[in-house]
Symmetry: C2
Subunit: 328 residues, 2 copies
DNA sequence: CATGTGTATTGACAAATGACAATTACGGTT
DNA sequence: AACCGTAATTGTCATTTGTCAATACACATG
């Protein structure tokens, strides 16, 4: 009576033991609850267990992805702010989330970004991934609601030696893991000490192959960094404080995927820029679907620069930032 | 204060008025509840309405498909019964739903079938649709959780003049409507009085075109009918009681898409069969993905016949029927 | 200007739910 | 056979949620 153990060695399982064995009980509880709309008590009666057990089963079902709640991304793009942003910046998709606490902003944006990305993903996609707190939040919360096969996730900029908390490698591998994709980490530092060394490294067959994959991404996910004193770039280790100050002196207000932008989104190049390994801004523009996730008042000028120059095709933000962008 | 009216003629909407305008409030309530996991009271506070209103918003969000609960069809296929059925009948997918009341069986099967179909649907699909109570239940409950474009739904058998409650036309048009697909109704009766007339009709350019589309379906959805006294075929009007009795006398135990099968799934042909307009059993086998939805003890022999002969690639049933099939 | 009609909203109550500590069952080990 | 540690299960209670009749509101009509 009740739920059979998941040990799998009981007599009625003939032959091969399958890898991901679902407990029938969990699946059924989920079905009866979410599809048939029975109450937990009714299900408990039917399965001969206590209601509390059903609560646990349902939790498990949600955690294991047997059931998931999908919020139609089309609907998110139909709020008034989202539509205004779409027309103002010529974006093909915008998702705006409601207000919440400031501390949880990147978490909440990550959730939204994850849903937007998950919705777009198709068989055979090659998904480029940048890095940063927000990108990591997306990677951390993404979950596919339908089976997709043959995905590749590729790191689009070299690996940094600094802050490992939201490194390119971590963002890439976490995301690929969550969506069961092939993972390609760029086997190169983000910045090299000379252009010559960079050129030599990129000439290596391994890297040539990897960079080729970077350039063939059909989607890319990135955040926007500002250049304030506590900003992500300043702790990321991709450039020294002096180098960053130099970029600022030359008009930079934003960073995307390691590249610096001025107030109108034009590239701010230079020696340091030339020594960086990763997708360039012009290459970025070649990617058909470019999802930018960013929000927060401190990033406003940086976001404006990014959007104005058309680096994104899809934009995920919060309502406060969205309204501020429209007010400008 | 509160929710703005959806009249759409207020001043802040410049230019074109978009067709499906979502109320921001509904969208936000949905987001805050399902994504941010706030309680209804918290959301009510934030949006300055009563909690009861939030309940209504959330209901509306579910009804309008802004949020939907998806049950991973892969998981449904991993219950022990589903896997046993897959191997016994060589099916590539099986979904088994738990027990419930007998009256609601076709509703519940319809829900499951709808989810299985919705999960499979891809851009550009041509979906053949048979008819019957179960097929109608699928059509009635299907909802896409992601945007899919360029779908065609095509009626795979002629239109009957009998029972209009679950006619081929209704099944087809309802389904196509639900998934925003192009709808192709076969402009011909299900049965003609002579073979010659049928041949003449099928020679018509319009029908030639339509039949060509039928044959190019890449998915097909059908139910299974038995031949008992109260069965669907007997009220459908596709054949007279005498004709049906004749089929039975010649060994028929099942009907799928208007075609009669013997106990092992072999076609039971004859004059009446020759006069029918619609996909044939051999043509059916050419369709890559064939979803069969059926359950109930009275249909057991009919289902066995259908599955044994390999007419289905995917099968949706209830646990009672599933276990009975395994016990045979 | 009163009146009707349909829809959106609310408050109050009953039901359903989630959290958690206590309890029980189980597999492996002396 | 007794023991132990882990994991599943349960009872209880505070919180959250759904329902429903009553009310407010906008808009059209006589």
């Amino acid at each position: 009576m009740g739920r059979e153990k998941s040990s799998g060695k009981s007599g009625d399982e003939i032959g091969v033991s399958l890898p991901t064995e679902f407990d029938d009980a969990v699946m059924w509880a989920a079905w009866l609850y979410y599809a048939d709309q029975l109450t937990q008590s009714e299900i408990a009666k039917q399965l001969n267990v206590s209601r509390a057990t059903i609560v646990n089963y349902l939790q498990e079902a949600r955690e294991r992805g047997i059931v998931s709640v999908v919020i139609n991304p089309k609907a998110g793009g139909r709020t008034s702010v989202a539509r205004a942003l779409m027309s103002k910046y010529g974006l093909s998709g915008v998702f705006v989330i409601p207000n919440g606490t400031d501390e949880s902003l990147s978490q909440r944006l990550g959730d939204a970004g994850a849903r937007v990305l998950a919705d777009q993903i198709e068989d055979g996609d090659v998904i480029g991934v940048a890095w940063g707190r927000t990108v990591l939040a997306v990677a951390d919360q993404i979950a596919l609601t339908r089976p997709v096969s043959n995905l590749t996730v590729v790191q689009v900029s070299g690996s940094s030696t600094g802050e490992p908390e939201f490194s390119p490698e971590l963002c890439t591998s976490l995301l690929s893991n969550r969506i069961h994709a092939r993972c390609v980490n760029l086997l190169a530092p983000a910045v090299l000490s000379t252009r010559e060394l960079k050129a030599a490294l990129l000439a290596e067959p391994v890297l040539k192959k990897q960079m080729h994959l970077v350039h063939s991404s059909n989607r890319i996910l990135f955040g926007v960094g500002d250049l304030g004193p506590r900003s992500t770039v300043r702790v990321s280790g991709i450039a020294s404080q002096e180098e960053i100050d130099d970029y600022v002196a030359r008009g930079a207000v934003a960073v995307i995927i390691g590249r610096f932008l001025d107030a109108h989104g034009a590239a701010v190049g230079g020696d340091h820029d030339d020594r960086m390994v990763g997708i360039t801004l012009n290459e970025l523009r070649q990617v058909p679907s470019r999802i930018c996730v960013a929000g927060g008042s401190s990033k406003l000028p940086a976001i404006v620069a990014t959007l104005e120059a058309g680096y994104a095709t899809h934009f995920v933000t919060d309502i406060a930032t969205g309204e501020a962008l429209l007010a400008l």
